[in-house]
Amino acid sequence: MTETIRFLDYAPAPESTAILTLRESYGLFIDGEFSDGHGESFSTISPATEKKIAQISTADASDVDRAVAAARRAYSRTWSKLSGADRGKYLFRIARLVQERARELAVAESLDNGKPIRESRDVDVPLVAAWFFYYAGWADKLDYAGVGPNPRSLGVAAQVIPWNFPLLMLAWKIAPALAAGNTVVIKPAETTPLTALIFAEILQQADLPAGVVNIITGAGDTGSLLVNHPDVNKVAFTGSTAVGRSIARSTAGSGKKLTLELGGKAANIVFDDAPMDQAIEGIVNGIFFNQGHVCCAGSRLLVQENVKDEVVDRLKARLSTLRLGDPLDKNTDIGAINSRAQLDRIRELSDIGEQEGAERWTADCEIPKTGFWFAPTIFTNVSTSHRIAREEVFGPVLSVLSFRTPAEAIAKANNTPYGLSAGIWSSNGSRVLGVADKLRAGVIWANTFNQFDPASPFGGYKESGYGREGGRHGLAAYLTSAARESLGQVAPSSAPIETPAATKKATK
């Protein structure tokens, strides 16, 4: 499989940006309208060209106060008084508007984030619409969400989201929060605010009551002000484990309900009886999807020793056919790295990989002259103690390790403080289920990888965070009930379920 395969040259097929009507500058979306922030504004650039797209406001403490106050007002005066059916209707409207403006959102996302249009068009934006559609239907069915009788909303939710799936993460956060009856202040990442601001226009078109969703932009300081605001009842964060830790610390004792979706170092385990064609595609999708900027990326490939050489050779052949370049080109497989800072981080860890003795292979592809790029890279001869086998690279870098027995594969897979996702490739169904049972990870893909669905809970074990997004589990993150309050999350009250009679007397 190592012979060079000749491919036809593809003519450029760029998606037009004419569909976008962007403003030169964007304010903060607070209380239903845009207003300037009081922090220092910044520009968002295209990582593929380093050209400026728009000027973006920074929310300072007074702006965060304004946004939280607007969310609180909307919660107490409007949103909490609306029926579940009406909340659902707003969410259905949003889902439809996202579908109507899908192409525009996909182009904006690829422009601002650097991901291939093929992905933003076929994965990100369709999932955004699906997420709103799924949770829309829950809004008037909360009694069936499984959190106990008479579930109630929490209040104002503070949400901080990352740059790898900007609009999709927004949907993961906003849809369940609104369905459950909360109002929202959300902060997109500073390198990818564009689609969130276009989404604000969609909210205006949907005629969502003012203040129900407030979108504020800025960097980490703005996020910190938001999650630490005293009038916030719920904090939801997706991002790095380091920031997740600091949020867990700063919200300790505050009574704020917290869910964290953090880093990962997923093992993708390939047994010798795997369906090999699918496995090769799955490995590529697992780590090179979205340039590897995926918290659940299959960044540690564990291959059974007797098929290791075959797998690595076929991977190299396949990676040599991937097309790196203009994110807006419909033929592009690998887009731009999201920022210079992230590119530096990927380069640093890759260099460390070489210094520690791993063998580096990089796909031979032409790198554009401007912008941030990193060619697909594979490390072999990686040992479990290497930093590239332990730390999240968050880039198109795959570490290959081998194993002999299923027990060794399981031990190596679990040998990480993370526990977000894992992959298993085997044609033996019994082995798949047996290994899945023993992996300490929140999402396990068997003979597939990087599948997402609004009906399917997503979230990690251990230091990958806590709480789930998606499905009814994701809804539960935004609800409370008498049963949950008895766990000290809000005010203590009695458990509504039947309990032993003697206990009731004794605990009076």
Binding site: G442, A455, P457, E463
Partner: protein
């Protein structure tokens, strides 16, 4: 001539054995009127770490047992406690100065809690998990499973009932437990350990420390091999330490933390599911 009683030596319960504290320390336990009852072991940082090691080693077997099996093991504890009802009533009367009827109520409630939670072991998965109707040719199912090692600060009041109310729910899903017993009234916890040691609970599944919660808890809160923290009885710790400090320490390893309770936690399925992780498994579907 009256018979001279044989008093019991109270030690720790770690890994299915009854060691003294490695520190050699004890502290005096008295009843409400200040009369000497016994010396209890005063557990150290090293004892806490030993307990975590024992608990970690026991996770595979306990979490790997079937729910039906775990349910029977928990039910067996209730059976044995029932047989020792008189002993525990007498101990609670002595250590907590309870009336006969109040002590009986506590012991009965503790037994009933084991029965109630035992019944959940082969059911909570059906309540907390579900199949997911994803938009594609995939089998997709979400199931809860044990989070791992749970460190618990038991309620300070009601030494037996408080203890059982926090350890039983953590055990249902297959977690193993390191519990710091009520500091003022730890003797019932060690007597309960004697019941556990002669029941079918594998060694290391429940580890009981006595001593100062304020001294031991920070080591458990920051221990990287502890997955979750139940601060039920940490609402009013000795000295300057607050339960919030423990939650802050736990943030470093992103432990799941249950805040303090007022009084004794009521039995609830939420106490079971709080110490679980939801695992979602996708598998391709196809006709080959």
């Amino acid at each position: 001539m009256t018979r001279l009683a044989v008093p019991k030596t109270y030690k720790l319960y770690i890994g299915g054995k009854f060691p003294r504290s490695e520190s050699g320390r004890v502290y005096e336990i008295t009843n409400a009127t200040g009369e000497f009852l016994a010396n209890a072991a005063k557990a150290s940082r090293k004892d806490a770490r030993d307990a975590v090691v024992a608990a970690r080693a026991a996770t595979g077997g306990w979490a790997g047992a079937t729910g039906y099996n775990r349910g029977q093991v928990l039910y067996r504890i209730a059976e044995l406690l029932e047989g020792r009802r008189a002993q525990f009533v007498a101990e609670l009367r002595a250590s907590e100065s309870l009336s006969e009827s109040a002590a009986q109520l506590q012991v009965d409630a503790a037994i009933d809690i084991w029965v109630w939670y035992a019944g959940w072991a082969d059911k909570y998965v059906q309540v907390a998990g579900n199949g997911n109707p994803v938009s594609g040719p995939y089998f997709n199912i979400s199931t809860p499973e044990a989070t791992g090692v749970v460190a618990i600060i038991a309620p300070q009041e009601s030494s037996l009932l408080g203890l059982v109310s926090v350890i039983a729910p953590a055990l249902v899903s297959g977690n193993t437990v390191v519990v710091v017993a009520s500091e003022r009234a730890p003797l019932a916890a060690i007597s309960l350990s004697e019941v556990l040691a002669t029941s079918d609970v594998p060694g290391g599944v429940i580890n009981v420390l006595t001593g100062s919660a304020a001294e031991i808890a920070p080591w458990l809160a920051s221990h990287a091999d502890v997955n979750a923290l139940d601060l039920a009885g940490a609402g009013d710790l000795d000295g300057d330490l607050s339960w919030v400090d423990l939650q802050i320490a736990a943030a470093e390893t992103l432990k799941r933390v249950l805040p303090p309770e007022n009084g004794i936690p009521a039995p609830s399925v939420e106490r079971i599911t709080f110490f679980t992780e939801t695992k979602t498994v996708w598998h391709t579907k196809g006709i080959i």
